[in-house]
Symmetry: C2
Subunit: 186 residues, 2 copies
DNA sequence: GACCAAATGAACAGATCGGTACACCTTAGC
DNA sequence: GCTAAGGTGTACCGATCTGTTCATTTGGTC
């Protein structure tokens, strides 16, 4: 069975776009890094934008399954799981390959609200919010929508701060803040 | 007295890079938008990167003076000023030209920690942290370093959330969270 | 008006960009 | 072995990229 070139390409694209930036990465660079011919690339994807969309979709799936699994391993109660989200962030920040969030990068480089790439980042963020809201509701906390939004913003803040690199423990600090907000909503 | 072309260029560059992205903006686009010749540009700046650095510096000065002035107009006590930071964010988010934060964008498009542009964004963020820390200390709140970090992360989170556009009142929600953290540190 | 600094415009250089065309090769299934 | 699907390599296209050169124009001061 021949390896799936399309999947290889999307995986490589995801890594390269993330590390190097979307506009700053040309298709020739992807050819060089992936070993997949440009002809094959354009056979599978009509344009660079379509490839980016596929890479973002893959990133969303991989990150979501990894973080959900880690959270479930770290805690079982919804309230503890809300805090475990920050431990999982911490693990992510400590990875050598961490370079902020691919969706933040994409929404920044494609800032027009009607651009498909921007729209996909918004959808991904909506899905994150829904995930946090589900846990907040399961934990029977007050003002669930607002609290979910605040917790998500702490996560965003931790990601950005971790990328700037000027705090020793962004995830830990955000977790302490999250705990205070959760306690206040109990 | 001839108008200062260099300053005009930096102002225009700041606006165009911010709206369009750094890599996605070519020097020819800047020529078209500013009406300043490419020759003049390269007379004042050795490279595109140097122009970007100057634009970031200008943005830092303008944003800092504007926000400091607005905060001082909105509140006089340090504790109230910490909360007023979020009202000022709100004003900023509501501007037609809001497109996330120029320093977040720059750090994202130039993610290498040794790149001068990335370094300048880190310095700007350090200055923001010091500003928040000064207010936290003046308000005599507990754990000032950690609290300043948390408040800054809420600001980061609000900026990112405002840019994704999937919350009606990111600054207001972040302000409520900030108030809870400040109350808990009183 | 003369002079000088600042600025312009036009053309250029080499490189890269996203994307196309086509002959040819490789792999997998029958 | 044959065939079709998948993939490659090479060259190409028109456009754009950052940056350079140089003759000319413009603006300000005396």
């Amino acid at each position: 069975m021949r390896k799936n070139k399309r999947d290889e390409l999307v995986q490589q694209a995801m890594e390269t776009f993330y590390r190097n930036g979307f506009h700053a990465t040309g298709m020739d660079m992807l050819v060089a890094e992936s070993g997949i011919s440009k002809t094959s690339m354009y056979k599978h994807f009509k344009s660079k934008d379509e490839l980016i969309l596929a890479a973002l979709k893959l990133r969303e799936e991989q990150f979501h399954s990894w973080s959900a699994q880690r959270v479930a391993e770290l805690a079982s109660e919804p309230r503890d799981q809300l805090l475990a989200l920050f431990d999982v962030l911490d693990e992510w920040f400590k990875e050598d390959t961490f370079k902020s969030c691919m969706f933040i990068k994409a929404s920044s480089e494609y800032p027009e609200p009607d651009h498909p790439i921007h729209q996909q980042t918004v959808e991904q963020r909506n899905a994150m919010y829904e995930g946090v809201l589900t846990l907040v509701e399961a934990a029977a906390l007050k003002n669930p929508e607002a609290l979910a939004r605040q917790l998500l913003m702490l996560q965003e803040g931790a990601i950005i701060t971790a990328h700037f690199g000027n705090s020793k423990d962004p995830a830990g600090e955000a977790k302490i803040a999250a705990k205070a907000l959760i306690d206040a909503a109990s």
